[in-house]
Symmetry: C2
């Protein structure tokens, strides 16, 4: 059966989209069949695969609001499919609030689709609103990208307590599968301190693989490609390859 993973953190700019794009690509590169679902109305994950807004026909808005059957689109990465996002999604948040069963919409809509994939990665917006709630109810696990910065660390406890509340109220199987440290810079004392703090508090929940700050990673979306295709030998791309490996080894050990 497929693993449904929400990539979530309400803190902005911590690397949710970058992790979704590049981890999905690395998993597809080792033969897994992967679906990326973009539920951020900014549509950055869709852009990161080089898909302009005009080519986004069957979208996550259709999935959530219109409840029509949506066929995932192919991407430039073999084995990797995408349900893209457009700005229409910004309206869905308010529409969802006034519908019954609002937190289950995504779970129901993915029910028919997820079975065709080994892994489903859901890129969440920087908020704990109705869209992220839908992802947490639909998912089996949450992967938390955590930037090695002070403000990012401050938000972690709010996120973990929200996940706990969702587990109790809506989704008993939901667990935090891991925390991945992003934009790590070993020369920076603050970066090292955040890493030490998080490992002390969260122990084995934190992936050993850290994603370094690497300009090739932030360049890649301007070429419409995952960094694995833009600069495979870069430290950023290689870190995502290692993260995929670590993730699959942890899965095998379960």
């Amino acid at each position: 059966t497929s693993r449904i993973i929400a990539i979530a953190n309400q803190k902005g700019g911590v690397g949710k989209t970058t992790t979704t794009i590049n981890l999905a690509t690395a998993l597809a590169a080792v033969g897994r069949k992967v679906l990326v679902v973009d539920i951020d109305s900014q549509g950055n994950a869709s852009t990161g695969f080089g898909i302009p807004p005009s080519d986004r026909r069957q979208t996550s808005y259709d999935l959530l609001a219109a409840e029509t059957a949506v066929v995932p689109m192919a991407t430039m990465v073999p084995g990797l499919f995408l349900i893209p996002a457009t700005v229409d999604l910004a309206g869905a948040e308010i529409e969802l609030i006034s519908t019954s069963g609002r937190q289950e919409k995504l779970k129901r809509a993915l029910g028919d689709i997820a079975g065709d994939f080994d892994l489903v990665l859901i890129d969440c917006p920087p908020a704990l609103g109705m869209l992220t709630l839908n992802a947490l109810v639909a998912a089996d696990e949450v992967l938390v990208p955590l930037q090695c910065e002070f403000f990012a660390l401050e938000g972690l406890s709010l996120l973990l307590s929200t996940i706990e509340r969702v587990r109790e109220a809506y989704n008993p199987r939901l667990r935090v599968s891991g925390i991945v440290l992003t934009m790590y810079d070993g020369r920076n004392r603050l970066s090292r301190e955040v890493v030490a703090d998080v490992r002390k508090v969260m122990g084995e929940k934190v992936y050993r693989t850290m994603i370094p700050r690497n300009v090739r990673v932030s360049e890649a979306p301007s070429y419409g490609k995952p960094v694995l295709l833009h600069a495979f030998d870069s430290s950023g791309a290689q870190a995502y390859v290692h993260l995929a490996g670590e993730m699959l080894r942890r899965e095998a050990a379960l």
Copy 2:
């Protein structure tokens, strides 16, 4: 009369909070009386002034949901006052949606308070939801922090069109007072390209002052201080001093 400025951008992690804290401090340092209103439930602006959650008694939740009279609290910076945020604010977003006149709540609540200050800076969350809408309706102007990165540039047109819609529907005096480029790194080609693109498209709307990526800036919140107090001579602190100067000169020229 006072200027009410919303610091807004739905893209996450672009420097909204950092700009609010440090621009406010630089303005207070040259004798302006400044109020910071934190309407992000992460409460990062409140943390950046060294105020722990237990000391946040009269908050922006009270301002928005309870409509009680809120007295701003003093901060470590002379002339700078704060209405802090707590996680309770996360609930306000949903509560606001079902109340009448929901988009005017902050405007009405600030009506009695703003007159005591020369400038009011409102730190917004990374979304175009009900809280940011309240800020855009209450404000006279919007200051847009824009990170020198590809995804950040992509979100600018959505933000500008949203501001335009708010001006037409709710607040005819709302204008974009300026765009400030943040986390600029001159050694990085992508950074230089983003700057060239934004200046070409937005012209004079873009402040000449750019905020460089500077580790002292990201360290400062871990000491509970604005960077002007943590490391006054740093390139980051000095950039915010120049930004305040440029802002006041532009005001005088109006």
